[in-house]
Every structure is written in C-alpha cells, then in structure tokens.
Symmetry: C2
Subunit: 210 residues, 2 copies
C-alpha cells in the first residue's frame, strides 16, 4: 500500500512538472472568461472500489474541456486537499479523471469546504459500508458549478508512476461542502492521502474567472 | 554529442508511450475529416542553429491545432525519417514544434519524399554554409498542405530527455520533396539522426483523411 509518510521513496524518475502545487492567484496569468468545461453526456458512476488509500468510482460520461472532447473515466477522493490555493489547504478534494481518444488525461479537481453534509458523498460512504452492488446515485450537477472558475496548468499524476503531461483544471468555486462527521468517516477508514506540494519550476499557471 | 549508434544507452526512465512509431493505416481509428490544423499567424524563421546532430530553426507564429491555440517554437530535420508509415521509411522528416500556454507540446511532422530539389531546404543549407545573419526565407505554405491528412497519437520527444505526453500530428500528404543532392549534403554534414522505432504498446493511433 502506498505510504504517504514516506513520499521521498516513491519511485519518481520525473522532474520538473509534478503535482500537486500551491496555486497563487496573483502569480497566475489571468483570463477573464470562465473555464471552458461543459458536460455533454451526464456522468454515470458505475462501480465503487476500495482503492486501499481512497474510494474510487469508475464511471462514464463525456465533456468538452478547452474545446476538445473527453471521456469521463473515474473519480476519487483526497483528504486533506492535494492542491493549495493561495497557501490554503482544503479539507477535501475530488478528482474527476478524463481521457481523450489519443489518451491525453485531464483531471478536473473540485475543492471542498467544511460545512453541511454532502448527500452525494454520503451515498458513496453508505454504499461503501454496505458493499452493495446497487449503483451509486450521484448527481454530478450538484458537484460542478454552472460557471466554473479556477486554475489550469500542466502537471503529473499525484500517485506513482507520477506520470507527467497531465492537464489539471482546479475549480475554485464549487458549491461543495463536506461535514466534519463525513470527514471523520474518511479519516477513520483511510489515512490522509495528500501528496506533498511540488515545485512549480518554470511552469505558468493560468486563472480563468469571468 | 548524442550518439545514434548507441541508443540503448540513452537515458530513458520512461516507458510505454515513446516515439517514433510505425504508423499502420489499417490499424488506425479512422476519421473522415482532414486534420484540424490552421495557421493563424504565418510562421517566421528567425535564427538558424547548428544543433550538432541537425539544423534547428527558431521561429514564431501561431496555429489552431485540434481546436486549441498553439505557438510555433522551432523546426528541425531528421534523415532518414523517424516515423514510418506502413513500414516505409521516408528520406527526410521535418518537425515543427509547437507549445500552448500551459506548456503542452504538439509536433507537426512532415514526411518528405525523394524528388525535386526543395527551395526552402536549399535556403536553410545556403544560410548554414554562409553562417550569415540574414533571416531565413521559408514560405511555410510551401510546406504545409491546404488540406492536411495523416496521423494523430500521443508519444514522446525523440531525443533525451524523451519526455512523454507529446502530441504528434504526422502529415502524410505534403507536396514536399528533397533532392538526392540535398540529402547528400545533410549526410555529409551530419550523421543519420533517426531514433529507432518504439513499441506502440496500448496506444491508439488515429488517422484523419477526408
């Protein structure tokens, strides 16, 4: 199992474009439009998996992201957040992984604040506890804002093989909250699974907000 | 200097998505449209460099490639070709390297056949011999077909650090030829600089042709 207390010994032959990073708004290249991200076939969450360090939901669906079509593949959860925004860690981060026809990967990341209980995350928890085969009911429209704003940069997978060339879209305006009770459930069943912040190096981060 | 006779000892910690590859039309996923590639600001070739293994021309210009804006950065030459099409090696291959705002790379590759002398390549040769500071006159419209057709896949740089996540567009219908005399000039001044063919592994190649 991946040891988050021993990250220096993770296999990593890559270099200069790793994730996660600390996203700093005043250093970002600003674009006065929202993130071009539109779901074209509703996301469907089919199978729930115990991924040892987190829960992973395999699914399907499609979207147009920065003018190119992508398939939704899977979602999984990190706590606390892997990305930081202006130095702030969020309690929870949702990764929605997409691929296009030549295998390029875009991860849409949703930052989750502490607050009210999240009914979709509660469905994930209940389904995990019951190990039921019933499908997971998540309304992805509850997760993704109508007019997403946030960050765009080129990075890597945050778990080995830490492959680079991964396109990241970090949505910073979700309506999403998670309750302390739900967070506690994750912390009881899994260990914290956030990779350390990596150096930006020569990368340019872009901020989209209308 | 990079030794093309000792490629097994090139540093390469990457794995499954390397370039070049042999592009096989009947195994490709076919799309009955031309490659979506449109130059939006004419390519300008500013500086010519002796890159030890080839000639590199730094430049500028811009294009829309698969619906996303890219800047043209540089072009350089390989002989014989690095990519194969249906097992066929071409005598010469031109790489036009592009980057977008987050640093994603697309290489547009032009396969060149043996035939008449190419006046643009002759300008490159003459300028190299004279080591003149005068700007290199290349009409990129002579190079890029109006209705480009060819292959699209995800690979790597073909020289160390052999970085993966590089998007390749191999145009298979250029009007481009190079003469035996011009090829001989390259072979006299440089050694053959084609990287060996790499395994396709689980990648899907896409073929665009209307």
């Amino acid at each position: 199992m991946l040891n988050y207390n021993n990250q220096d010994n993770w296999p990593n032959n890559f270099g200069q474009q790793q994730s996660p990073i600390n996203l700093i708004s005043h250093n970002a290249n600003f674009h006065q439009i929202n993130i071009p991200f539109k779901i074209t076939k509703p996301y469907n969450f089919v199978t729930e998996k115990d991924d040892q360090t987190t829960i992973k939901l395999l699914g399907n669906g499609s979207a147009i992201i920065f003018n190119r079509p992508f398939q939704f593949i899977q979602t999984h959860f990190h706590f606390p957040s892997e990305h930081l925004i202006n130095g702030t860690t969020f309690p929870f981060e949702i990764h929605l992984v997409h691929q296009n026809e030549i295998g390029q990967t875009v991860v849409i990341s949703l930052m989750v604040s502490l607050g009210d209980s999240n009914s979709n995350i509660q469905s994930v928890i209940d389904n995990f506890i019951e190990k039921s085969a019933k499908s997971i009911k998540i309304n992805q429209l509850d997760w993704i804002p109508d007019n997403p704003t946030g960050y765009h940069y080129l990075g890597s997978l945050t778990t080995p093989p830490l492959t680079e060339g991964i396109e990241w879209v970090i949505i910073d305006n979700p309506k999403l909250t998670i309750s302390m009770k739900q967070l506690n459930w994750f912390e009881t069943h899994f260990k914290p699974n956030n990779r350390n912040i990596q150096s930006l190096n020569h990368r340019q981060v872009h901020l989209y907000s209308n």
